[in-house]
């Protein structure tokens, strides 16, 4: 089963990378970019077809390593 985990800085946390990328887009003339958050994306191939198990395992992976829950939020998608 394929899975995708996306991790973003929490809304209240400063995102300097996103800010810098947005400013660069503005310089390229994309004046409509009102906000931009930069995050990380992890694509995983899981050796199981059990969705419930996959969600549980992925949540643990996020809590323990892929994200730092104090400053980041994560989202799990199963494909």
């Amino acid at each position: 089963m394929k899975a995708r985990v996306t991790v973003f800085p929490r809304p209240e946390v400063l995102d300097p990378q996103g800010k810098a990328v947005r400013e660069a887009l503005l310089r390229l003339g994309h004046a409509e970019v009102a906000d931009l958050r930069a995050g990380k994306c992890f694509d995983l191939e899981l050796a199981t077809e059990d969705h419930e198990l996959a969600r549980r395992e992925l949540a643990e992976m996020c809590e323990r390593l892929l994200a730092n829950p104090l400053v980041e939020r994560y989202e799990i998608q199963l494909g």
């Binding site: 946390v13 400063l14 300097p16 990380k40 323990r64 390593l65 892929l66 730092n68 104090l70 400053v71």
Partner: protein, 236 residues
């Protein structure tokens, strides 16, 4: 006394710590490679600064799950002395041996400069050679030293006396401009409940002899060594 300096791929302050412990203070010092899972009987363990694992994922995140950190965790839980400096502090946070997390410096700049720290606890294994309220001058060199934690965790940390060092003015006053990286409550260093695990962003090992422009950091290592000796004496 046997001291250990953790060596991770990307550590770059390991030899500075080794130098202070071995040459300035005359201790037995060994390097502890990241793939080992034993501290080889070390009583004081230092997790030094650097860019472990290239800061991949988050600063300190991958080091926090390396085999040697398992051994460091067991040592910490048994009351052994653990000091994390700069990236070492980030690693101890990621390993949840200390509470909180690091953000980019508020200025978004890598900061390499001297800072002034106020000693908030002088009754710890790492600080008893200082006076409470004493102002130290130590260097920092980091991009992610902006300490943060949810307010309830900060409140609990303060209530338990976990704040060991704060960024202050040379006169020892809390002022926003001297909190150079924007840390919550000007926190520069914290300890666990037992006081045996200390994490700090400034580098005491880079200010441990006058030749380096300052020696305010030396007493931190002297404190730790003396404490470990006392603990050994009590145990025997």
């Amino acid at each position: 006394m046997k001291c250990g300096v953790v060596l991770l791929p990307g550590s770059n302050c390991d030899h500075d710590v080794y130098h202070v412990l071995k040459h300035s203070l005359g201790q037995e010092v060994v390097y502890l490679w990241h793939q080992e899972d034993s501290l080889q009987g070390c009583e004081l363990v230092v997790v030094p600064g650097g860019f472990s694992y290239g800061d991949y994922l988050r600063a300190g995140a991958l080091a926090a799950v390396s085999p040697i950190l398992g051994a460091v965790r067991r040592h910490a839980e048994a009351g052994g002395l653990v000091l994390g400096i700069c990236n070492g502090f980030q690693i101890l946070l990621e390993a949840a041996l200390l509470p909180g997390a690091m953000l980019r410096n508020q200025s978004l700049r890598f900061l390499c400069q001297d800072v002034y720290l106020r000693v908030e606890r002088q009754d710890l294994p790492f600080t008893h050679r200082y006076r409470r309220g004493q102002v130290l001058r130590l260097p920092i060199a980091h991009a992610e030293g902006n300490y943060t934690a949810p307010a309830p965790i900060l409140d609990q940390l303060e209530a338990e006396g976990g704040v060991v060092f704060r960024y202050v003015s040379p006169a020892g006053e809390l002022e926003a401009e001297w909190n150079v990286n924007g840390s919550a409550r000007a926190i520069a260093g914290i300890c666990n409940r037992g006081g045996n695990v200390l994490g700090m962003m400034p580098h005491p090992e880079r200010a441990a002899e006058e030749l380096l422009g300052g020696s305010d950091g030396l007493a931190l290592f002297e404190s730790a060594l003396e404490s470990a000796h006392l603990a050994l004496g009590l145990a025997s």
